[in-house]
Point group: C2
Chain length 413, copies 2
Amino acid sequence: MRIEILTTGDELMSGLTRDGNFQWAGQTLTGLGFDVTYHTTVGDDKEILEAAFATARDRADAVIVTGGLGPTPDDLTIEVAADFFNVELELNQAALDMMVQRFERIGRKVSETNMKQVYLPEGCHTLLNKWGTAPGFSFEADNTVFFFLPGVPKEFRAMMEEYVIPELKNLNPDMKKSCMRLVKTFGFPESEVAQKLEGIERDGVKLGYRAHFREIHLRVSSFGDTTSEAQELMNEFLEDIHSRLGHHVFTTTGEMLEEVVGNILQEKSLTLSTAESCTGGLLSHRITNIPGSSKYFLEGVISYSNQAKHNILGVPMELIEANGAVSAPVVEAMAKGVRNLAGSSIGVGISGIAGPGGGTTEKPVGTVFVGVDSSLSGTISREFHFRGNREEIKLITVLNTLYMIRQILLNNV
Amino acid sequence: MRIEILTTGDELMSGLTRDGNFQWAGQTLTGLGFDVTYHTTVGDDKEILEAAFATARDRADAVIVTGGLGPTPDDLTIEVAADFFNVELELNQAALDMMVQRFERIGRKVSETNMKQVYLPEGCHTLLNKWGTAPGFSFEADNTVFFFLPGVPKEFRAMMEEYVIPELKNLNPDMKKSCMRLVKTFGFPESEVAQKLEGIERDGVKLGYRAHFREIHLRVSSFGDTTSEAQELMNEFLEDIHSRLGHHVFTTTGEMLEEVVGNILQEKSLTLSTAESCTGGLLSHRITNIPGSSKYFLEGVISYSNQAKHNILGVPMELIEANGAVSAPVVEAMAKGVRNLAGSSIGVGISGIAGPGGGTTEKPVGTVFVGVDSSLSGTISREFHFRGNREEIKLITVLNTLYMIRQILLNNV
């Protein structure tokens, strides 16, 4: 079955809005085993839109159209669809009732403008929208089924899941059951992950790579005649991934690195505090993004100046003068200092040169030291040399620090 | 002139990679006054790719194809293009010379695999790639000109600017000269910005809106027979925007809010320190993303626990007990405490409930207090009630805090 996704809107053509609906639909449908063959985007123009419908009808078996179902004059999809299918618009009572109820709940009346949204093409199949105001609909023409959905991402996704995906499955009764997992790895470049996974492909499993900054993400789909068959295939495949990539796999269920670290800290009833220099608060920001992080994250210090390293963290000025602020002894002292200040199980200290200024021949931009102080690890530190711009060096440093904490917590150091 | 952008690659169809090239090209071409009429994406499949070429030829005057020029077996664009244009592939000496030189510089030899990239369709016009290995080319067929460019974003953008845009301008000799600016506003929702700008449209100016979280961005393009005419139109238009939106416009040249604040701090030789609770380091992270921020950002404290508020910042425990950690007196004491600790011109204190837990009837999730202590403002604080998930509340808080600092620095408070 050839599927075409047709996203519409001037804001997409002018690049002002990112076409997240297409990306989500591509991921979801491909993961389920469907073939997304064509993707088209056009602006809010009657003639172009109708031409795009015709092209899609001629080359695809199912067409998913998003956008243009709103109440404003540049929302043209319904009108153009009726012209294209050669039918009239008629008031859709079920859609109107739903809209009236929805508006009553928020104390508003349905305006004349909104009424436009509930006149749908005669003979269409209504897709009621429980997540917003614009109803969707489907229509079959010349053996091609068209689905019309709103462009608001939340509504689009919900209606894809509620109506379109089940219908696509109906149209493909022989389709296999599937199972999807997002595996994340850290510490290997994409080429090395690919090399280690060479030959891992097998029938019934699809593997997609995506470099997500320094993490390599693997989207795995498995297919079987039954869900448990797909699940079993998945388990075997994940085991194989594990045996090839070892501890570099930090999740097979999609969590972020800071979430993985947070979960281990909570399981082990340990607490954390941070002293950051070059990362400027990004480490604590990432850690505190996780709901419930106040249970294990006690405090952070951004000791940008040497004065702060001394005054707050108690790093001796002589130590800074003798070794430089970017050095192993200083980050170890920062880690100890903040652990002591916060009374936490683990203290982390980071100092480095994020650039673009501040580099020297001896310590060029990208030189970073990370220290950890805890009863699990004692006082340790690592020296890194990263490449990238300022924001990239901050981010690489934070990822490596989180990974280092994870390794310590798992006794892998 | 109808332009079609045809982006190719299985990684786009499966949603694993975001189609940033299209978004960039849409923004750039629309801003220059071109009409981007169609955008199509297809995967790495010979038959589909050739069909997409045919559709594009029939409906567009210029087609920009990206991707599939690499050395691997799934890079099919060159081969399919030759078939489609009905010509043979031939060795392109200029492209080969360039590749040999490029590889020599990094001490590599051109492999057989790479040789595939320098066999281009007979009669094409070569677009040499100075930014990577894959040469591009253009070809005219039935009055439609096709441009073939690599998919690597850096190479794609450079070659668009070096070759494609000048050629598109040649094909449209009557096109006006243009001028583009990115205006950013804060503090008004999109509907209010639109209302205040009602009727501002005029001949020779194009205005595009984009809600970027709580900021509303306005992409303005002006067009004239000469560059200075376009520039003059732009200046008048920006003045009109200013008179309608006042201080809510924080830049007309695209800077981020933290950059605007940093610039004013530097101009006025003032320094800043921060004490964050619910934002968890995001404020200091954003501030320290700006190169040179160490000149004005002295230190930050993430006082997640009450203990930290007391121990490091000197907030009296009785004050916390009497008012709660999320209160005006506490954030004012945090601001004073961190200003005192750092010896900075300005101290900022933030405390709030980012959720999802921790809310009460009196102080629901989204309640945030921001305090500032400085000689410009004295000790002041504001109470906010935000909606959103945890990360959104952190971000809204940081934006409002940055905006509050800007207003104080500009004596707008």
